[in-house]
């Protein structure tokens, strides 16, 4: 070990620092800037942009290819096959919980001002971005710390859940979803399949659970508005 290497943090510590840094950027945007920025909401984009610069820089420095990250098509069906059963179970559970809480399912409730197909398309794009951060970055860095195992899957789910503070219902479903998606990604890394699942599951949850339970999917400081 040379002298320069001795003062650098280890691989695990560096990966943990990267996860903490990206997570903190999102929390800063959700909790500090969206509350304090007033009319200048564009300022929220600054920490998010910094997080993306860090993630892209990190991929480059670690020599990760787009294929490694999950930008690929060869395993879409394999990933979708792995996702199908958990998605079905969660959809049925969500329907039953919604009915138990007195909610009538309404599959046109998710942004009714838009065409449903367009909304699911937007959900796919937004889900793709979230899954990229969650899986291609957080999950992969968690694997640097613990390897492809339960702990890295759990950390990915917990991180996803924490980013949905303080919405309790959303934290529960994102913890479950985050763990399932992380486990599937470790077996079949494909962001397109995960984004499809993300969008469809958001649609199902919004359509079946009471509006009051999800509080319009609001998170961070906006949850209280």
């Amino acid at each position: 070990m040379d002298s320069e290497n001795q003062i650098l943090p280890g691989h695990g510590a560096l990966a943990a620092w990267e996860i903490a840094s990206v997570t903190s950027s999102v929390l800063i945007a959700e909790w500090i800037l969206s509350a304090a920025a007033g009319a200048g909401k564009a300022v929220v984009a600054i920490p998010i942009s910094l997080a993306f610069i860090l993630m892209i820089g990190s991929h480059s420095l670690r020599g990760e290819s787009l294929r490694d990250l999950g930008f690929r098509f060869d395993n879409v069906f394999h990933a979708l096959k792995l996702l199908l059963l958990p998605m079905l179970i969660i959809a049925i559970a969500s329907l039953l919980v919604g009915l138990a809480l007195g909610a009538k399912p309404n599959f046109l409730r998710w942004h009714p001002e838009r065409w449903l197909v367009a909304q699911i398309g937007l959900g796919f794009a937004w889900g793709f971005v979230q899954q990229y951060v969650l899986q291609s970055f957080v999950n992969r860095r968690a694997q640097v710390i613990w390897g492809p195992a339960r702990m890295s899957i759990f950390l990915t789910g917990v991180t996803f859940s924490l980013l949905h503070l303080p919405n309790p219902s959303l934290m529960v479903v994102t913890l479950i979803g985050g763990v399932i998606w992380a486990a599937v990604y470790q077996r079949a890394p494909n962001l397109f399949a995960l984004a499809i699942s993300h969008s469809v599951m958001t649609w199902v949850l919004v359509s079946t659970l009471p509006v009051s339970a999800l509080n319009h999917l609001r998170i961070g400081f906006k949850y209280f508005s």
Partner: protein
């Protein structure tokens, strides 16, 4: 990952943290100035079983009447403009006119120690945000 790449990644992480710290500091300072009226002056003169009174002037806009809110024992009591007759303020060159006093009727309170606070309401963000600024100091009083 070689040592050079690790060092670069650490530089990237430090640079990002520094940029975010500067951003938060800038937002905090601008938030303070947006939500605080530095020209506000006022005193809570008196609080007893019958009345809570004092004055408030916005020296940046001396013709305006400051909206004030009374809290007793941390509970909201009333909201009113500071537009009551206070000739001593213009005599002391605190205000341009004589109408910057406030009077609140003290509500029914149990015997014992109480604390009155009066806050000026400061609107910012085009009226979307309203923040409270304490006028003078909290006033403690005792009812027998």
């Amino acid at each position: 990952m070689d040592t050079k790449s690790r060092a670069r990644l650490i530089h990237l992480l430090i640079s990002k943290s520094t940029a975010e710290a500067l951003l938060i500091a800038a937002v905090a300072v601008s938030f303070y100035f947006a939500t605080t009226n530095l020209n506000l002056r006022g005193v809570l003169d008196k609080a007893d079983r019958q009345i809570v009174s004092g004055w408030a002037v916005d020296e940046g806009n001396p013709g305006a009447r400051v909206e004030v809110q009374l809290y007793i024992d941390d509970r909201f009591v009333a909201d009113a403009p500071a537009d009551k007759y206070r000739p001593d303020l213009s005599e002391a060159k605190r205000a341009q006119d004589d109408w910057h006093g406030f009077h609140f009727q003290t509500p029914q309170l149990s015997p014992g120690d109480h604390e009155a606070r009066v806050y000026a309401v400061h609107a910012s963000g085009g009226g979307a945000r309203r923040t409270l600024q304490l006028i003078g100091k909290p006033y403690r009083f005792r009812l027998e």
